[in-house]
Symmetry: C2
Subunit: 327 residues, 2 copies
């Protein structure tokens, strides 16, 4: 069976790390992929006026899964509609530290399960009168239940014991109240153990004692901020993959951006993108292959060539070749 | 001149640390205070049905400044209206590490200037239909300008070079768009140097390189979360004071909560509360006295008795006495 994979490198280092991930997928001989390339981002906007052309949307919609690199100024114009195109309701963001790498907190292994459709990402904004603006934050019981079902299921399937539900229901009483109640109800129905945590206090605890957390189920913006915080704990965005999971489709992207400061220099760290490809493998049912890719990345991080962001002086190609070698 | 100070200990360790701060203020012989006690929090709610009785509101409204300890379950019902009663538009939260204390990032010295009236703290929420809820996030140009004026002024007055404006205007285009634009305009008008940062990326950078930041001007929730994150960097909430500043009145409170787990044991760390009293001294024009209190706290943190949260075994009273001794 051949899987059709949409490949959207985007801007900046997306152009360098996306081919690296494709190379890794091609090296997996137990799975068969056909890659269809789409364009998106600043460059295509400059050319065509659109950051995410209709053709690219269709490619992503029709594919079995999409690999997306990064976009520059137009990041939000690309990634938010793409998440929508693939119908993703769950954004899965593992943040873990690796032996042999400098990390603020070397004992971190947390998976953020971020609600991917609601909250302050509704897009409903207006200027009510001059200088007075509003945004409508939307939280529904249905989406809250759905992300919680996904999160508790993920924890169980991956052998994680601790589930934490993040919220700010002491201030956002109705909206995060619904999130907290719906997510807690799912935990209770499943007889699962879980904690709840105010997102502000959680930010502090994550910095001080990340080893106490496994899976954190979050509203959209909380997941955005807390997962970046966790990236800081483990050594930066260069290591964090993510999966946007829908009922029938999915999109895989590194958490990092297009890094215009180092774009084109051949030194971008391909790890986050390659780990995103590993999540794609899992998603398509190639769990063993996903594990192999993760093991290869881990081994190269531990004792192989490193890009400058990790204190090394190797280039993207050398690191990618080392990972492919390890497979 | 006698200054009338409202004193609202609240719940849990608020009952222990608030008297400690009063003791410190009483030990300042160059200023004269009259203390008026008000009650608020879980206990008074259990008794009277109200977490913040009208009488306490009046006491805070009429005083020259208020010291508030902490509240338990009712924290939001107490602190949000109290911030409103004193008309505070700016929440000032310094987060710094101290020599001699364990810290995740020992080179942290950041002051968060948090907008204190708007954003998702509007209180405008409703259940639109069953299981569908909304919250109206409000951002005005006026409040955004006001917090920025305050923040840039604070940076200048306190000799801080780097000002950062936090936002999420790539997603909240209208609302944080106004915040970002108004705050940037203030910086430009003042000819001040400043950076802008997406709050998610900022969370990561703060964890990795806090030494690069001085003053961070934030929307309300961003300030809530990022200041707690910074508390984690410097060793926990036991060290963070805060000031809620209005045109004519102000409220001073530790960033920590009521800590029910250790309440009544006599071991609460009074540092955050005493540092809040130092901010009260600054606010009333006693800058030199404020500095003296900070120096005393710092000296005790460096080589005096420590409470258990800092790895010591001293009680609140012993630490307070040591600080008063140093004055
Ligand atoms: C680019 C931006 C819209 C996006 C988000 O806020 O989700 C990014 O920060 C991320 O986390 O993927
Ligand atoms: C108790 C809560 C309403 C409050 C807030 O969100 O402002 C607290 O977290 C704080 O930071 O002072």
């Amino acid at each position: 069976m051949t899987h059709e994979i949409a490949v959207i490198p985007g801007d900046g280092i997306g152009q360098a790390v996306t081919p690296a991930a494709v190379e890794v997928l091609q090296a997996i001989d137990t799975a068969d992929f056909e890659f269809v390339r789409g364009s998106a981002g600043d460059a295509v906007k400059a050319e065509t006026g659109e950051a995410l052309p209709q053709e690219t949307r269709s490619i992503a919609a029709d594919a079995d899964a999409t690999l997306f690199g990064a976009a520059g100024e137009t990041a939000a114009d690309v990634i938010l509609p793409l998440r929508d195109v693939v119908g993703s309701f769950a954004n899965v963001r593992p943040a873990r530290s690796y032996p042999g790498l400098d990390a603020v907190q070397p004992d971190t292994d947390i998976v953020f399960i971020r609600e991917n459709t609601e909250g302050v990402y509704s897009g409903i904004e207006s200027e009510i009168s001059e200088g007075v603006t509003t945004l409508t934050r939307v939280v529904t019981e249905a989406a809250s239940r759905e992300i919680a079902e996904f999160g508790f299921g993920y924890a169980k399937q991956n052998g994680y014991d601790d589930v934490t539900i993040a919220h700010k229901a002491n201030v956002m009483r109705e909206t995060d109240g619904v999130f907290l109640e719906a997510a807690s109800a799912v935990g209770d129905e499943r007889g699962a153990a879980y904690d709840t945590a105010l997102m502000d206090a959680l930010a502090m605890h994550l910095v001080m004692r990340p080893e106490e957390y496994d899976v954190i189920i979050c509203p959209n913006l909380a997941g955005d901020v807390l997962s970046d915080l966790a990236a800081g704990l483990v050594g930066g965005l260069g290591l964090l993959p993510s999966a946007n999971i829908g009922e029938e489709n999915a999109l895989f992207e590194p958490v990092h951006g297009s890094a215009p400061d180092i774009a084109g220099e051949g030194v971008a760290n391909p790890s986050a993108m390659i780990l995103s490809a590993a999540m794609l493998l899992d998603h398509l049912g190639y769990d063993e292959e996903g594990d192999r890719v993760r093991a290869a990345v881990e081994s190269v991080l531990a004792s192989g060539p490193k890009t400058p962001d990790l204190g090394g002086d190797a280039g993207t190609d050398a690191v990618t070749a080392a990972i492919v070698d390890e497979l």
